[in-house]
Each structure stands twice: as C-alpha cells, then as structure tokens.
Symmetry: C2
Subunit: 252 residues, 2 copies
C-alpha cells in the first residue's frame, strides 16, 4: 500500500456514513447545460460514434465492429455511455459505434476517417484524443508538437463538417493524473497545452466540451489517484464509470 | 424488421419528447427498500461476489479472475453494478468479483462453491441461477426438475450460511422474455415455477429479492422484446444496463 492509499484510507471512517458519492463530485465540477437532462441533443434513429485512442478503445473486439454490441464496445467509458443511452431511450432506435483504436494520435484518426467516421454518417460524434500526441513525443517516438496537434485536429474537424454539416460534436478533454505509475510533474505543463488546444477546437466548432481533467482532479480528493487510473492515463473500472457520468452530465 | 419492431417504432413520435426513460420504468415496478439509496448494506472493505450462469458470466476472462477488473468482469449486469459501486463509493475499498460461468445450473454452483464462493469470503453474495435448470431439462440434456432446483438451491444456501453466517444474500429472479428467438409460450408456465422456488429461497434465507421478470415485462412495453434480449434469456446492451438498474434499486 503506497503513501496516498494510507493517507486516504487511514482517515476514512468505517461504514457508509463517510461516503461522498461521485454523482455529487461530478455535479460539483460540471455545470449542467440548460437543456441537459432531457436528451435534447439526441433524436430518433440517430447514429452516435465514439472516436479516440486506447481510452475509448478499451479492449473492444475489432473483428466485426458491430453497433450496440458489448464485445464491439469494449469496457470503457463509451460502453457505459452507450449502455445508458440504450437503456434510457428505448424508443429511439439509436445506433452506437465505438471506433477508438489504441495508440492513436490525431493524425491517425485522419488516416482512417472515411471508413471509421464519415461512412458511418454519425449524427453525434464524440472524440477523445491527445494524450498519445504528447506521450509519444515525450518518448521520442513521434515528432509532432502541440501545434501539429491543434492544426491536425482543426483540419480533421473541418473535413468532418464539410462531409457532415449537421453533425453534433462532443470534444473530450485529454487528461493526465499525478501519483500514478506513468505520470509525474513533468507531464502537467505540456498536457495543459494540449487541453487548451482541444478546448479551442470545441469553441471554434461549437462542440460540447467534456472537462475530464477537472473531474479527475476532484475525484482524487476522495480516493487515491491509482483508484481512478493505474498509470494516470488509462482509467480503472471506477474511472471509466466516472468518465461516463461526466460525459452524460455534459452532453445530454 | 419484425412485426413488434414495426408496431413499436411505427407509433413512436420522432424526437425526444416521446421518451419514457427506463429509470422511471424500474422505479415503477420496484419499490425502494426503506433504507435503499444510502448503500446501507455495503460497508468499508466489503467483498462483493456475483454468482450465476452465462447472464452473469457475460464473456468474462476466466484466466486471472481478478477483482475490480473489467476483463475479469465481462460486459453484463454485474459489470455495470460493480462499476457503479466503485464509482459511487470511492472511500470504501470494495473488492468485487464475478464468478458466473456459462451454462451453470444450481448443482454446478455447488460443485465449485468452495473455490468460487466460500474461499472469497464475500460479505455480500448475489446469485442469479435457474434458467438453465429449466432450459437444459427442456432440451433433454438434464433430468433435474424444479423440485431438484429448489432442494439444491436450499442446500447451497444452507452450506453458505454455515460457513459465512454473516453474509448478506441477494437472490435474483430467473427470467424469460417472449417474442424472442428462443422463448415461446410453452416456457412461461414452467419458468414461473422456478421463479416461485427462487423467491421462496429469498424468503427462507432473508435475502434481498431482485424481481427481474417484472422489470422485463415492463420494459417490453417501451421497446420490442428483442431490444432487451435477443433470445429471451441473454440480455442485450440495453437489457444488461436495465438489470443493473433494477439490482441497484432493489439492493442498495
């Protein structure tokens, strides 16, 4: 047990009285959109697509890539969101896809965008991308800077809007969490730049913004960082559910 | 598109206004326990175990059988419940296992009970078993009757209480849904007998009862049966989430 686990659990009171439930954590840091809670962004027969890297991929089976299928969805935040929407909106005939792929940076989304986005004709498109753009640069495996990230991201979104002018966009904040196996202080300055760039994209393209960083920043006040994400990048079971709650509160 | 899909979707109004959300379906058919909603059954450091057949198994990876791990949990109702509890109760250091195995009948739980239940020392044990006890009998692959089911179930629970006198029990109702690929009218009389036996066990052992049948009966008023379960036994993505909502409302 590491120091932060001891710090947290050492001070917690046994039993249920000491709980702070995470719905209240999320609601404390994300303001509800005026129309949120009534699924105003989602209509009958909508196609909803989740795009991104390993955090979105979450171990999905890439053989068949079926919509509304647990194996094709993996076990991450996208699975929780899709399951919730299918359950909450039984009359709407929604078609939901997960097409996240582990290791992807924004230019790799662009390379597969026709097959994995435009051809699916999403009505709502949710993207979480950026942590590998920084991580792979940091590891010397990639030479794109944050400027490349921003320019590639803008080009991808422009291309998307040209082909799907009515698509509703959701842009999720890339995040990193300290006191975990992969993330240390030296991450936080650079990752902030990617977050600023992603938020700029949300503003330029009138997208819904999902502020994952501040959700994790709040969550780690309630349990050690590794409870939410072992390496600081990939969420645990608790972390994936937390992300889905944040997305749902921000978007629908 | 089959007849029931046309019937449902033909009459639904486009857009969000026509929605009936499933939380309201569940709350319409399951009364909240007086202490429910405050997690009064769950305490710090509790071990929670899900047991059952393929519906609980839900494609879990059986190599490592780790607690609190998405691969070891599969993609069914148990994954949703566990993710929700981990997210909602970050300070409690819960340890959650899924040990459902496809095809199991109640006597097969008994055969692996030491390893897959007693040795894990659960504080809360949730069991969903029974549909194969009927289905395999029906297919001529098994000769146990509903009386065998009840007697085996009672013996299993007595054995459990002898070794774990303080364990809190949750007994889930086996269910079957009409207008699906495997279930027809001839199921409904017999399956009712298994449901009566399971409920009797819940009463004899002072267990929390999760009435899945009436939840599905209500759900199919809002979307075709195959939206919730393709074969009438195994839930879809929507159906698994529906089950988790029913469990959470019944139990915690």
């Amino acid at each position: 047990m590491n120091i932060s686990r001891r710090r947290f659990f050492g001070h917690s009171v046994a039993g249920a009285a000491a709980l702070v439930s995470i719905p209240s954590i999320v609601s404390g840091v994300i303001s509800k959109r005026e129309t949120a809670g009534n699924y105003s962004l989602i209509k009958k027969s909508d196609v909803i697509l989740f795009q991104g890297d390993s955090i979105t991929d979450a171990g999905r089976d890439k053989e068949k890539e079926l919509p509304n299928n647990p194996k094709s969805f993996g076990s991450g935040y996208a699975f929780h969101i899709a399951s919730t929407l299918l359950n909450d909106l039984p009359g709407l005939e929604l078609t939901l896809y997960n097409r996240g792929i582990s290791g992807n940076k924004v230019y790799q989304l662009a390379e597969r965008w026709k097959k994995d986005c435009l051809d699916l004709k999403p009505d709502l498109l949710s993207i979480l991308i950026g942590v590998n753009d920084y991580w792979h640069l940091r590891k010397g495996e990639y030479d794109g800077t944050v400027t490349v990230y921003e320019n590639d991201y803008r080009a991808l979104l422009q291309h998307t809007k040209e082909h799907l002018p009515d698509v509703k966009l959701v842009i999720c904040e890339p995040f990193a969490v300290l006191e975990t196996s992969a993330v240390d202080d030296s991450w936080m300055g650079p990752i902030k730049e990617y977050q600023v760039a992603a938020k700029k994209m949300a503003e330029e393209f009138n997208a819904v913004w999902v502020p994952f960083q501040k959700v994790f920043d709040e969550a780690i006040k309630h349990a050690p960082a590794t409870y939410w994400t072992g390496d600081g990048v990939h969420p645990s079971m608790a972390g994936a559910k937390l992300m889905s709650e944040a997305w749902l509160r921000s978007v629908v």
